[in-house]
Symmetry: C2
Subunit: 319 residues, 2 copies
Amino acid sequence: MSGRIIVLSGGVGGAKLVLGLSRAADAKNLTVVANTGDDFDHYRLRICPDIDTVLYTLGSVADKDRGWGREDESWQFMAAFRELGGEDWFNLGDRDLALHVLRTDLLSKGESLSEVTAKIACRLGIEAQVLPMSDQSVSTIVDTVDGRLAFQHYFVRERCLPEVTGFTFEGLDEARPNPALIQMLDDNPSAVIIAPSNPFVSIDPILSVPGLRDRLRNCGAPIVAVSPIVGGQAIKGPAAKIMNELGIGSSAIEIARHYAGFIDGLVIDNVDSEEKSDIEALGVKVKIAQTIMTSIEDRIALANCALDFACLIGKESTK
Amino acid sequence: MSGRIIVLSGGVGGAKLVLGLSRAADAKNLTVVANTGDDFDHYRLRICPDIDTVLYTLGSVADKDRGWGREDESWQFMAAFRELGGEDWFNLGDRDLALHVLRTDLLSKGESLSEVTAKIACRLGIEAQVLPMSDQSVSTIVDTVDGRLAFQHYFVRERCLPEVTGFTFEGLDEARPNPALIQMLDDNPSAVIIAPSNPFVSIDPILSVPGLRDRLRNCGAPIVAVSPIVGGQAIKGPAAKIMNELGIGSSAIEIARHYAGFIDGLVIDNVDSEEKSDIEALGVKVKIAQTIMTSIEDRIALANCALDFACLIGKESTK
């Protein structure tokens, strides 16, 4: 695939495929649209967990075991911060802090999140383009039986334990899609890939930015998602738990139903192959593959699979 | 000495005597008034170098060799910050950062610098009272032949190399003395000690806060300074260099002349004993002692010497 590839991504799970795509295709032709609904201010530092995970992953400095933050990380700041009475529910590594301090300063000087992200990507030697979904702040609020929680409070502080009843994205009235993304969508991209991120808290915020869902749908490129649910479970994170709490059950077909009307195709795992015909009945094409990404080879293989699938769908639609 | 002891202090040199005073007297009766003219915002973090040095010293977490910052410090933040393009002329240790992040957050929530300092002092188990000279921002500007420099730019970034022509303290119009200090001065303190800090950039900012010099002079307590110049040299920092550049020469007598009319007595080093009579001719009593503080015993001994000297002056004045 030679044209521009646009991938929508959340954090850890999504970043794995993003890395695969950066190797499977020419990284210069890859645009990563990162969810910013998780972003928050913590002790006056602006933290953008999904952008950071994408940047660290593509910059080859991500911690491979932990799944978030930087490799070779140390925790002296946290130890001292705790001693001084600072809250310690959100871990800030010593190296990771550098990004937060720098970004907070640049933002406060009036640079946009896009400009700051591009600057840091350049410093990390990243060839792919990493774009926040919007330069305006959008905040995912998790509605739970225990009340409304800011996303990181739900996700990190409360360890996803409260039962979810729904989600609200605050700030949408003021939010506009990333202008660089809009320009790209006008320029005949080859494929739009939805990474196997949590549909509710990683992808839906992106698609909720006013106008963005329609612009993606109408850009002419095939839209292919990779299911984050494998055998009824999420590989990482609370997607399956959330789906069950919302009463929709966790399965690849429910992922297809969630995205139906927007995506052209869904890559599902081998173990879910029996769901293929039910998904196709929703008007969503299906590709069966190994979607669990352990090695870098797995990531590249799944990326190639998604790109080939998108390419095929593109060709069929122009027949 | 049983009443309240007030000590005016800058950073490293002053903090040595402050530590001695906290051991020589009942720490609960010790009030440290720290210079805040060095304070600055660095990448949106509020940094108060002199307060920090006093806090770390009294909290027994100061680095003993380096003279500033925390012991057992690590520098992972700086390494990552540099990689990302952050300026690295001001070193921020991983542990030290905890204080800056916490303070910046608390200040932005509307707490005064006094409140924040007290909170951190409490967390570090410090019994002495540590007060910023003012809760309003006062900034020391160094006038040099190369132009005006913010203090840390002169002191750290330019390593005190530019030739000094004078000093300006910005923000004095809005600054008021620390209210807790004013209350204490109304309550018959036993002694006011001026630590062997740089008179121009550590003590003068304190004395420049409108009304503070007169309030100190009129509080009824003897005022005793310890000379930061020993044998024509400063033990630490640019005091001697600055005095020479200002054309006043670096000697104990010039320290006495600088403080004349304000202090009652000056502790000078054994090596400067020949200057005694000239200093006394200025109306300043003299005590000769070993003023170079290497060990903790040196600090306690010098603290006791200054306190005894102040006590003696106090008794003489009430005769």
